[in-house]
Symmetry: C2
Subunit: 196 residues, 2 copies
């Protein structure tokens, strides 16, 4: 791969997302970002009109990543049970994406951020509902399950915001996924359970 000789708006947006992931919204500051990118802050204003425009671009990039891109990672998996498991694993792997969701959700009172958070949440919820429906649940039960799973996910994000390293891994992650798939409603028949 060749060395980047000049930056694009996308580069700035990604740098902004990185900054948000470990410093919150206020970490989107032109001068520090320019420093990190190795250019002067003056150059920023060739790509964007102002700081707000950068935040907007970052939000757009995030929405893109969190909808089409993430779904694409698992939509190839035909077995709905396996697909759901993968969704939970992907969603809980790596800090960055979880941190971003957490930060944006916490800032959803901001008129710039709120609508994006809502769209992303609805998108995820719909995807989960489809998965559970494909598992054989009635529409209402699929909805209940999806809400439970999403709420659980958001809740673990909240807990992690205190201790960013405390994301479920290994055995804990397996327990977590199992909980999201079979604790409240008997998702398998007895014979299925014996086979597992």
């Amino acid at each position: 791969m060749d060395v980047k000789t000049s930056l694009s708006a996308t580069d700035w947006a990604q740098a902004a997302l990185d900054a948000i992931a470990d410093g919150g919204i206020e970490a989107v500051a032109v001068e520090p970002l320019a420093r990190k990118l190795g250019v002067t802050k003056g150059s920023f204003y060739w790509h964007f009109q102002n700081r707000k425009a950068l935040l907007k671009a970052a939000l757009e990039a995030w929405e893109q990543q969190e909808t089409t891109d993430v779904v694409r990672q698992v939509e190839g998996i035909d077995d709905p049970r396996h697909r759901l498991q993968q969704v939970f694993r992907v969603a809980n792997s790596g800090f960055r994406n979880g941190r971003l969701t957490g930060v944006f959700a916490a800032s959803s009172s901001d008129p710039l951020i709120g609508p994006v958070v809502e769209r992303v949440a609805k998108n995820r919820l719909d995807f989960l509902i489809d998965c559970y429906a494909a598992l054989g649940f009635t529409p209402e039960d699929a909805r209940r399950w999806a809400m439970f799973a999403y709420a659980t996910f958001m809740g673990t994000l909240q807990l992690r915001s205190d201790d960013p390293t405390a994301l479920p891994r290994g055995r804990a992650l397996n327990e977590y996924v199992r909980l999201c798939m079979e604790s409240l409603i008997p998702a398998r028949t007895e014979s299925e359970r014996r086979r597992a």
Copy 2:
């Protein structure tokens, strides 16, 4: 009354609350506040260590006002029905207090603000529960009513944040209060209703 010759920490905290009410949390800025108070920003640092300490003081003042002070306005009213009506009227009169509640609630993800918002909410809820209980409701119904009333209040705040002048007044306020007191559960006996 005599002319104030020098400022106190309380004066700064109140000025901060005024600023928050019409500009949000970020409007708590030392230099603009100093300008408004007619002093140089240097003098601020005699009263507070930094901006954060001022925010903290403002939050404390708000919590004080919104708990003991507001309750004191209506606790003298013996008839629980009348007392409740007054609470709703007081809570919905004037922008400032409502705006403050709205802004703080929207910023409750801030670790400095969240705990205060929670305490104030619990306090108000408990007060409402007591009122409804005194009205003769069972503990569970009193709780349900109090939650409904408080949620309705918070919801109207949310709506108002778009149009700050749109707070219920006159006939609308009467309707609002009536809704909070008698729409879901028959709060009065038939004979009471005929008397009204």
